[in-house]
């Protein structure tokens, strides 16, 4: 049933996440990080994944790569079930899927030279010829806009945050992957640098024919790069739809709340006095029924009793809400 409710089902899905559940124990309590999430990313597509901190979006990204063990559910990459794989087979699949993290400086080993950092994935994947490795490293550094001769012999601390993120992108690209999970890749960067990195990701996507899962909390950033956007709240998907449509006509009250909260750089737009809708509930004991109901102005008894399923509200747009802002056509 969930499968039917998935957008782009007819297109060629490179990644399929089915009913994924990820939980972990902290201090004897269970954190329900990802609860029954299903989504697809078509080949060549960028799917944006947004939500507030603690909503499970990063956990979901890591669970795709099997860096987090799922309790149940499947992750199909190009038809292969990653959750059933182990050892060598999984390692080979991981060469096709790479990850870029939020903090570019912390994700580079401070005591290793840039050339070695970028060559490491090649070493692991068995490229034995040092000359060949050198060549691939130089190619990918030039691609991300860095001069290989000036960069290879230096250490991470000699670079700014923006340059470190370019280096991380180069490392992710060096194995020529098909799929990259970008986990808040620009949140730690300044506005002027952020635009450079977002443009670079778009360029690299075109040049290397990539498919992206772009995780971020900033809706405007997500919209700038995504074909479709999935909104997550407290471990569950609220809404999925084509970017432009989702922003123009959000169906889920939480999506609408997120859009309203974006500060607009125009003094004539007086910020709407924000409705005091409280803060996210705890993923240790998520609310029954719809998890957003404790902050939702539309919540009623049904939202307490019944978990809403993702249902179509418009072409390609799906919302998990008993009282969506737009009615199904």
């Amino acid at each position: 049933m969930m499968q039917d409710a998935q957008p782009s089902g007819s297109r060629d899905p490179l990644l399929k996440v089915e009913n994924l559940v990820v939980e972990y124990a902290i201090g004897g309590k269970t954190i329900h990080a990802v609860s029954d999430v299903s989504l697809q990313v078509a080949r060549g597509e960028t799917l944006g994944l947004v939500g507030e901190s603690g909503c499970g979006k990063s956990t979901l990204g890591r669970a795709v790569l099997q860096l987090r063990q799922a309790v149940s559910g499947r992750v199909l990459f190009d038809g292969h079930d990653l959750t059933a794989m182990q050892g060598d087979a999984l390692r080979r699949m991981r060469q096709r899927v790479q990850l870029i993290f939020q903090d570019p400086i912390a994700s580079l080993n401070p005591r290793r030279r840039i050339g070695d950092i970028i060559a490491e994935p090649l070493v692991i994947s068995g490229v034995k010829d040092p000359k060949k490795r050198q060549q691939l490293v130089c190619d990918v550094l030039s691609a991300v806009g860095l001069d290989p001769s000036l960069v290879i012999g230096r250490l991470p601390h000699e670079f700014s945050g923006g340059q470190c993120q370019r280096i991380c992108i180069a490392r992710a690209l060096v194995l020529n992957p098909e799929f990259i999970i970008c986990d808040e890749p620009v949140s730690a960067l300044d506005v002027s640098i952020r635009a450079q990195i977002l443009n670079l990701l778009e360029e690299m996507k075109a040049r290397y024919g990539l498919t992206l899962l772009f995780i971020a909390h900033d809706l405007a950033v997500v919209k700038a790069v995504s074909d479709r956007v999935a909104v997550m709240y407290l471990g569950r998907l609220c809404e999925v739809g084509p970017s432009e449509q989702l922003f123009a006509r959000p169906a889920h009250p939480y999506t609408a709340l997120l859009i309203e909260a974006i500060p607009v750089p125009d003094p004539d737009v007086r910020p709407a006095e924000s409705v005091p809708v409280g803060e996210p509930a705890s993923p240790i004991s998520p609310p029954s029924g719809c998890r957003f109901r404790t902050r939702c102005p539309r919540a009623d008894q049904r939202c307490i009793d019944e978990v809403p399923e993702l249902r179509p509200v418009a072409p390609d747009q799906f919302a998990a809400c008993h009282h969506p802002l737009i009615a199904a056509g």
Binding site: A195, L198, N199, K223, V225, F247, P267, S274, P276
Partner: protein, 331 residues
């Protein structure tokens, strides 16, 4: 301009010695904030905005050298005796920092921290201080304030912690509140709530506020005046509506253009600013933005443009080639 300002920063410069040489963090900044007014200070990391706020508060690192004057409520804070500064800070001069987890003491309860401030500055007795603490927590929108007094910072969410930090800052009815990136560590939905809270309390108390941020979107609807900083200097300063109507300094314009717009179509390339801010230990001859500026020409590489008054008295910018108004020349 003739109204007496509550805070007047006059020719303030901050130098920090580093292993790589002298770092000029703040370079001759002049600013004024009137009572009940809000000034936004906008700039990227390393532009000197936080050092400027620390210079105002006289909370600079020990090795830092400060020159210029910081006139607050009729007295110069520079060189004021530590004892008198301590009386001012927390009382009429308050601050909210970016990270509420590090600005609150993790081993003291919320109540202890609030009551301590109240007793120190207002000489309230224990009961009155507790009563006032509960009122303050309620005023900043914390549910069940009485129970919260017994809780420790780690038991609260980020947004709630920032509310507590604001309650402490407001506790002694300050005349000036400096909010240094108060929402950067918070989620968007919480950011909006905290900014609303600050604006509401600012109006209600007729308090002056300096809102420091890297986000032009945050200052747009919530400040009377904006100062844009780049490489330690104020490069443009104007009343908020005037600034957004017509930006004159190319950096301000580029900063705004680089923000992804929610109404732009997906995959629209962003007008990025090429390069990166200059190394503050290696001063640039000429305009510090010139290496990244698309309008830069001869003079920009030789001479530092001064922050000058333009056609309208209160709009200042430091640029030899300001962006022209759409009408061509200002009437």
């Amino acid at each position: 301009m003739s109204e007496p300002a509550l805070l007047s920063v006059e020719g303030v410069a901050v130098d920090l010695p580093t292993p790589r040489g002298n770092l000029r963090a703040v370079d001759h900044v002049d600013l004024k904030v009137g009572a009940g007014r809000t000034l936004g200070v906008v700039g990227e990391s390393g532009c000197g905005k936080t050092m400027l706020s620390r210079a105002i508060l006289q909370l600079l690192p020990k090795k830092a050298k400060l020159s210029g004057r910081v006139m607050f409520d009729g007295q110069d804070l520079v060189g004021l005796a530590p004892e008198r500064l301590r009386k001012l800070r927390g009382r009429s001069l308050a601050v909210v920092f970016q990270d509420p987890m590090t600005s609150l003491n993790p081993v003291l309860t919320i109540g202890t921290q609030l009551i301590e401030t109240l007793q120190e500055h207002l000489e309230l007795d224990g009961h009155a201080a507790k009563q006032r603490s509960i009122e303050l927590l309620a005023a900043v929108g914390i549910p069940a304030p009485e129970q919260r007094l017994m809780q420790y910072p780690h038991q609260l969410s980020g947004g709630m912690r920032q509310r507590v930090a604001i309650a402490i800052a407001l506790s002694c009815e300050p005349k000036l509140l400096i909010a240094d990136e108060p929402t950067t560590a918070l989620d968007v939905t919480i950011q909006a709530q905290i900014l609303d809270l600050l604006a509401r309390e600012q109006r209600r108390r007729h308090m002056a506020m300096i809102l420091i941020t890297h986000d032009l979107g945050v200052v747009a609807g919530r400040t009377d005046e904006v100062a844009v900083m780049y490489a330690g200097r104020v490069v443009e300063r104007a009343p908020t509506p005037a600034l957004f109507k017509q930006m004159r300094m190319p950096y301000t314009e580029a900063l705004l253009a680089a923000i992804p717009k929610i109404d732009a179509a997906p995959h629209t390339p962003l007008p990025a600013i090429s390069g990166r801010p200059p190394d503050p230990t290696r001063p640039i001859q000429g305009c510090s933005f010139s290496p990244r500026c698309r309008y830069a020409a001869g003079q920009c590489y030789q001479e530092k443009p001064l922050l000058a008054v333009s056609e309208s008295l209160d709009h200042q910018y430091a640029c030899f080639h300001p962006i022209q108004t759409t009408a061509g020349v200002d009437a």
